[in-house]
């Protein structure tokens, strides 16, 4: 797997699914590009406009709390977010992110050390995060989950496993 490298967008604790992908869009906005345009809209209206593919979202504890809506993971994935690094994730967000093929990394100490705007690097296989302050280790993802990332998400992964092409 390639290294993930990008500029940091740093936020606080309890970033909930409503600010990641507002509820008012959940039934009406389904096009990936349009979903990407609303990513983090109610938290940071500049994010979707100014972020570059590969950029990394860094946040405090309980990232993705609230609803079970998958769109909150897919919106960041479609925007091209390289990874989300947080002190902790809400359970359903963590699952949805993996299934969307969006890398989610729980690294509480790294979050404190990382500065907004710096460029950091993440090695998913080794479980290493490198930033200005140093190198931080996080538990590497289990094989089962890594396979889902490598395939680009749960649906492509399932298709591959079932031997369905394309």
């Amino acid at each position: 797997m390639e290294l993930i490298r990008g500029k940091v967008w740093k936020y606080g604790d309890d970033v909930n699914t409503d600010v990641i992908f507002p509820g008012k869009y959940t039934y009406t906005v389904t096009d990936p590009e349009e979903m990407a345009a609303h990513a983090l809209e109610d938290l940071d209206p500049d994010f979707a406009k100014n972020m570059k593919p590969g950029d990394i979202v860094v946040a405090g504890k309980n990232f993705g709390c609230g609803s079970s809506r998958e769109q909150a993971a897919f919106a960041l994935k479609y925007a091209g977010v390289g990874a989300v690094v947080a002190k902790s994730f809400a359970r359903l967000y963590f699952r949805n992110a993996i299934n969307a093929g969006l890398p989610v990394i729980q690294a509480p100490e790294a979050v404190d050390a990382i500065e907004p705007g710096e460029v950091i690097e993440i090695d998913l296989e080794k479980g290493e995060l490198r930033c200005k302050a140093g190198t931080f280790r996080f538990p590497p993802l289990p094989d089962a989950v890594l396979g889902i990332f490598q395939a680009g998400g749960l649906i492509p992964y399932t298709r591959k496993r079932l031997g369905i092409e394309g």
């Binding site: 309890d14 409503d18 509820g23 039934y27 504890k61 309980n62 709390c65 609230g66 609803s67 079970s68 998958e70 902790s88 994730f89 809400a90 359970r91 359903l92 963590f94 699952r95 949805n96 299934n99 969307a100 289990p142 089962a144 989950v145 998400g153 749960l154 649906i155 399932t158 298709r159 496993r161 079932l162 369905i164």
Partner: protein
């Protein structure tokens, strides 16, 4: 070393010894989806498998907006009925049956020791009968349709011990609000919660369901209550599948243990806009209310109807309050009818609707207006939860709801009744 319930159930399913932190891939015993089945079916079709892995695995229950409030929901229901027919899914319950989680328990799909997943976060409810019940995403449900399989992380376990006899009228809901208020909305993230202690052993199954239902409001993966005679008496006659009672080993390792003594517990209320913003009734009473929502998978079972009917007997709902009543299921509805509870409730001036989610998540049937306060027996009070971001939602027990409906403001039932 001893193992927890979660480790034992998932180990049994995976066919190997597992410990917390491991990831297993398993075939669940049952997989529940509701009005979101149409969206799930679309993802299933994208996978490109012609047939379901096993139609018997799925239980589909229409409840979130039933009957359909507009053409969009009607289309949605229609697509689901067509999908059910096309794939020969035997366990389908149309809009005349009740709220999904209640129906899963009543119909004997949720059983001790089974793994029952649902594409709905309150699937933790099944823990009340000793099942491993948990919420999953829509894509994951689509993959279960295609392959039967799902990955699950074996969770660490938090033990919550409840002791003491609460004062009369203080219920499971007050206990659970107290627990969430004290521990916080993210206290049990990724964790299995196991509720034990004499207070819970003495609870009815319906009351235990309140705890398991709301376990997810602390972030929990499951809300397990060790099965006992109360459980078995309930599940035996309705079981759809063989089951095995599984308990944690006495020497199991718990990540955390919290003990609550509820002997002096006051009625509790969760204030806007988070479930853990909990205050004792003495601090919130007097707050003017416009609507009372007595319903939801948390608190609309027969014992709740009994409490509410007794409170409303010979009294009137305050003229400035609309009281909306939604039984958790058609069975509850019928029983409440036979026992005369509905008549009492209607005579008091409340409106009794059919068994479904109602305004719980703001789909239909009683959306509060801007600036209004809704007092609710349900489980969530996030901003906009009942369909209007300008409304405020407070959560309470059925008895507090009834007393407040009479008073026209949030009230301590000990002052009103």
């Amino acid at each position: 070393m001893g193992k927890t319930f979660a480790e034992k159930v998932l180990g049994k399913k995976a066919g190997k010894d597992v410990v917390a932190g491991e990831i297993v891939e398993i075939v669940p015993d049952f997989a529940m989806s509701h009005d979101n089945t149409a969206a799930i079916a679309k993802t299933f079709e994208k996978i490109g498998v012609a047939q379901l892995y096993d139609p018997n695995l799925h239980v589909i229950i229409l409840d979130h907006a039933a009957p359909a409030p507009n053409a969009k929901f009607a289309e949605n229901h229609k697509e689901i009925r067509e999908f059910v027919r096309k794939h020969g899914i035997p366990n389908f319950f149309d809009i005349n049956r009740g709220i999904c989680h209640q129906v899963m328990v009543e119909e004997g799909f949720a059983l001790p020791g089974l793994v029952v997943v649902g594409s709905d976060s309150h699937s933790t409810t099944y823990g009340a009968v000793g099942a491993f019940g948990t919420g999953i995403g829509r894509s994951e449900m689509a993959v279960i349709m295609a392959t039967g399989r799902i990955w699950l992380r074996v969770p660490e376990t938090m033990k919550i011990v409840v002791q003491g006899t609460p004062p009369e009228g203080v219920s499971a809901k007050d206990i659970m609000l107290k627990i969430i208020g004290d521990l916080g909305a993210d206290a049990a993230t990724y964790m299995a919660v196991e509720f034990t202690g004499e207070t819970i052993e003495r609870m009815t199954l319906a009351s235990r369901m309140v705890l398991s239902n709301m376990a997810v409001e602390m972030g929990a993966k499951i809300g397990y209550i060790p099965p006992d005679d109360t459980t078995l008496e309930y599940v035996r006659p309705r079981a759809r599948k063989e089951f095995e009672v599984i308990h944690s080993d006495p020497d199991a390792t718990y990540a955390e243990t919290h003990t609550f003594d509820v002997s002096d517990l006051e009625p509790q209320v969760a204030c806007p806009h988070t479930v853990d913003n909990v205050k004792p009734i003495s601090e919130v009473k007097g707050t003017k209310i416009h609507q009372v929502f007595f319903g939801s998978c948390t608190n609309a079972r027969l014992e709740d109807f009994e409490v509410v009917a007794k409170a409303l007997k010979g009294r009137r709902v305050h003229p400035d309050v609309r009281m909306l009543v939604f039984p958790a299921s058609q069975q509850v509805y019928l029983e409440a009818l036979k026992k005369g509870y509905l008549q009492t409730i209607l005579e008091a001036g409340a409106i009794v609707m059919n068994a479904n989610c109602g305004p719980c998540m703001g789909n239909h049937a009683g959306i509060p207006a801007s600036g209004e306060v809704s007092l609710s027996t349900s489980n969530r009070n996030f901003r906009g939860r009942q369909g209007n971001v300008e409304a405020e939602v407070y959560l309470c027990s059925p008895l507090t709801a009834a007393a407040s409906a009479i008073a026209g403001e949030i009230a301590d039932f000990r002052d009103v009744l």
